[in-house]
Amino acid sequence: MSVFVVLYFACLIIASCLAAFYEKRGPFILLFSLTLVSFILGIVGGTGALRFVAIAAAVLAFAAGVAFCFREFLVVLLPTKIGKELKTAPLTAAFGLFVIFTYAIAAIFAPWIAPYGESEVIASSFAPADENMLLGADQLGRDMFSRIIYGARNSVGLALAATIAAFFLGAAAGLLAATKGGWFDQFMGRFADVIMSIPSLIFALLMLSIFGPQVFVIIVAVAIIYAPRVFRLTRAVAGNVVVMDYIEAAKLRGEKDSYLIRREILPNSTAPLIAEFGLEFCFVFLLVAGLSFLGLGIQPPTADWGSMVRENATLISFGDITPLIPAAAIALLTVAVNFVVDWMLFRSSGLKE
């Protein structure tokens, strides 16, 4: 029985007792069942398993702490009206915001943060981590950490540009269709159906092999693929707004479609559209990463998370986790965005009542 094991169980039991004393039902059940499970785990897996549990709990607690501090920080910093809203945000959403914030900082200040250049060869290929290289070198001897930082700029920037383009296309078409109605609505609807019937990856591959793998082509192709989804959502949301009496009043006033869309319909459909934006961003991001992995996305030597996974894939067979780091960066961002989106969906759906 090591000191660690004794401390481990002492901590759990004291925490359970505290929870029981303050009549916190949920935490008590969680803590005490963890204690019971730990007995079995300790017998089966030994100290190692318990240590893993402790580390996982510590990481979770650390993330929660960071999220909490970050939320309080924002509440203090931002104007009171937004601060009040943020105070009601769950910790997951605050954590998501924190991750997005970190990525944004990394992307914007990449040249200053990264210790080496994007395509600077500084070591032998697949060199292990040392005090110069935090995460070791890639297949050409470039610093992995610097490339991850630059990758945030390229991968996230590209996905963001493509999502924004998709939203411009889709939302504009959806709003117009809902406002005009009639044959225009029908035509746009069927046109969107046609695009959606083409498998997205095949469509992207086709476009890229015809026009060549340039950044502009990727953005346009991805925007065309995702615009129909945005179109359908926008049309549905705006469809509920255009039947309102205030739209009728504006029409009878003789207002043009552009005014109707801009001032009357759009302000009433932003909440679901913003939530959808976060969701679509994740899909677009994964599609772009997938294209890069297939070698048709962002071209070397530009750093990009998707292609970095592919380039270092051979290392997996040697039990090295280096190729998983860019993959983890992708996963963490999508999870973070989804946390924030969930919160926004919750707010816009009015479930809080």
């Binding site: 009043a249 006033r253 003789g254 207002e255």
Partner: protein, 550 residues
């Protein structure tokens, strides 16, 4: 039969709080209520007075986001509901306490037959077998004078009319022979003619089974017919409580007196100027929606400058469709609309900016008529900007002027959003938006029917003042004849898309009438507590339902 008159429900010092997201604010501030078996108590007050909250509390229920404060006592037939378990309370609901909601159409499940929903409670509580329960349901349908009581229960909710559905819901509430029924505005959504059948049915059945009832409404005339005692509420507090007759003859508190006085507003009637071209002339208009049956059939009437024409009729009589034809939202299939003698293009898209400006609309539901995401200053300012090209300080000045005109303080309302306003204030903003266009003609589509009586009277007075100041013509669509009486100069009665009768108000309110006008007029509840009884005797009890189906 000697009825048991013991105390059934005793509420003492009821306090309920609602959660605003930060703090708990009191909604009900210490209300006492004692109800005996077989007694009907009317709860009246404006919206927000806490009527429905008290009604729900009588079942031991507090809505989400509200809580019953400790120390309140709700004793139902010897059982304390505030300390009872949820299971015990649930066992009471439906079997011993029943609830009839405002909208039967929204309360019935459209996917099941009426009788199946009716028998659900007795079967659940094992009071009756299915066949017995069905026979009992038919018996209740007959007592409530529903047509074809043997067969009507096997229809789906959408296959019967609104008034019949409301009666079916009352029957459903009676299914377990509860000791107490809570009626929450059961006739507010119905036409006057339909309202009568429901009122008569409710009164009879409550009487027959010696059921106690709490009747929640904001309509004084209705409560006068139904209740033995009346309790007046204001902002979560009791104003006064008295037996009905005394309350009507001799109200003690100022607030109660002001409620009673509401229906006295009446402005002098103007008569049509001789030989002048009418401002709006609807000529022989037929209309239908997407090629269906005719919704309007040969509708003709004139509206003169500075006058108010009230268009009355039940729902579905084509009142609002007429408004849609005039505004150009629905082009007529035949006939035309003249404005100052000139024909208006049938589609609003083809009309000039000036033609659009001249005719404005005020809507029934201020909630959907004002964009919730746009500031008051822009809602009112936009028409002024759009038609008159005002901008900058000139525009701000005009908005301030309009807010003054509708008696709202510009400094307080200029930057606010519609959801922050009360119903009456929203309706005033709707009026200001119409005025901002400087029209000569305004269509008012049921503008007061969603408002409390005191607030509605304020709106009517405002409209009347504006008419005198600005020389406006109104087309006033309503099903409330009290409103017609107070504001109209001329009346157009519509039924099934046709104009049944039209003429100056004084002529329309003195006999002889067209039979349909007569039915409408006599159906308007009066404050006299014996009004319903007298009316039913006159009409002959058995044809109440048929009369309404004419």
């Amino acid at each position: 039969m000697v009825h048991d008159k013991s105390v059934l429900l005793e509420i003492k010092d009821l306090r309920i709080e609602g959660y605003t997201g930060e703090v708990w604010v009191p909604i009900i501030k210490g209300v006492d209520l004692t109800l005996h078996r077989g007694e009907v108590m009317g709860l009246i007050g404006e919206s927000g007075a806490g009527k429905s909250t008290i009604g729900a509390a009588a079942m031991g229920y507090a809505r989400d986001g509200t809580r019953i404060v400790e120390g309140s006592k709700i004793e139902f037939d010897g059982m304390e509901l505030t300390t009872a378990t949820e299971g015990e309370r649930r066992a009471l609901r439906g079997s011993r306490i029943a609830y009839v909601a405002q909208s039967a159409a929204a309360s019935f499940n459209p996917a099941h037959k009426i009788i199946d929903q009716h028998t659900e409670a007795p079967l659940h509580y094992r009071i009756q077998k299915r066949m017995e329960a069905q026979e009992d349901a038919m018996d209740l349908y007959e007592r409530l004078r529903l047509p074809n009581p043997k067969e009507i229960g096997f229809r789906y909710p959408h296959q019967v009319s609104g008034g019949q559905l409301q009666r079916a819901m009352t029957a459903m509430a009676m299914s377990c022979r509860p000791d107490l029924i809570i009626f929450d505005e059961p006739t507010t959504a119905l036409d006057v003619t339909t309202q009568i059948e429901v009122l008569a049915a409710i009164r009879d059945i409550v009487d027959q089974f010696n059921t106690a009832a709490i009747y929640i409404t904001h309509d004084l005339a209705v409560v006068a017919q139904m209740a033995d005692t009346i309790k007046v509420l204001l902002k979560g507090e009791e104003v006064e409580q008295q037996p009905t007759e005394e309350m009507l003859d001799n109200p003690q508190e100022d607030y109660t007196k002001s409620l009673w006085a509401v229906r006295s507003f009446e402005r002098p009637q103007k008569s049509r100027p001789e030989g002048e071209t009418p401002l709006i002339s609807v000529q022989d208009v037929d209309a239908s929606y997407t090629g269906g049956d005719k919704v309007l059939d040969g509708v003709s009437f004139d509206i003169h400058k500075g006058m108010t024409v009230a268009v009355v009729g039940e729902s579905g009589s084509g009142k609002s469709t007429t408004a849609r034809v005039i505004t150009g939202l629905l082009p007529p299939s035949n006939g035309q609309v003249l404005f100052q003698g000139e024909p208006l293009p049938p589609r609003y898209q083809d009309r000039t900016k000036d033609q659009l400006r001249q005719a404005q609309m005020i809507y029934q539901m201020a909630d959907t008529a004002l964009n919730p995401k746009v500031r008051i200053s822009e809602i009112i300012g936009r028409p002024a900007q759009f038609y008159s090209g005002l901008s900058g300080t000139e525009l701000k000045h005009r908005v301030d002027e309009l807010l003054d005109l509708i008696e709202l303080d510009p400094s307080k309302f200029y930057n606010r959003y519609p959801p922050e306003l009360s119903g009456g204030q929203k309706q005033r903003i709707g009026i200001a938006r119409a005025l901002a266009a400087e029209p000569s003609f305004i269509i008012c589509d049921e503008v007061t029917s969603a408002l409390d009586q005191l607030v509605a009277e304020g709106i009517l007075k405002l409209l009347d003042r504006l008419q005198n100041e600005l020389d406006l013509a109104y087309m006033f669509i309503t099903h409330d004849l009290a409103t017609v009486r107070s504001i109209a100069d001329e009346v157009v009665v519509m039924q099934h898309g046709k104009v049944v009768e039209q003429g100056p108000k004084d002529k329309m309110f003195t006999p002889p009438h067209h039979p349909y006008t007569d039915l409408l007029l006599s159906s308007v509840p009066e404050m006299d507590p014996n009004w319903l009884t007298t009316l039913l005797e006159e009409r002959g009890v058995d044809n109440v339902g048929e009369a309404a189906d004419v």
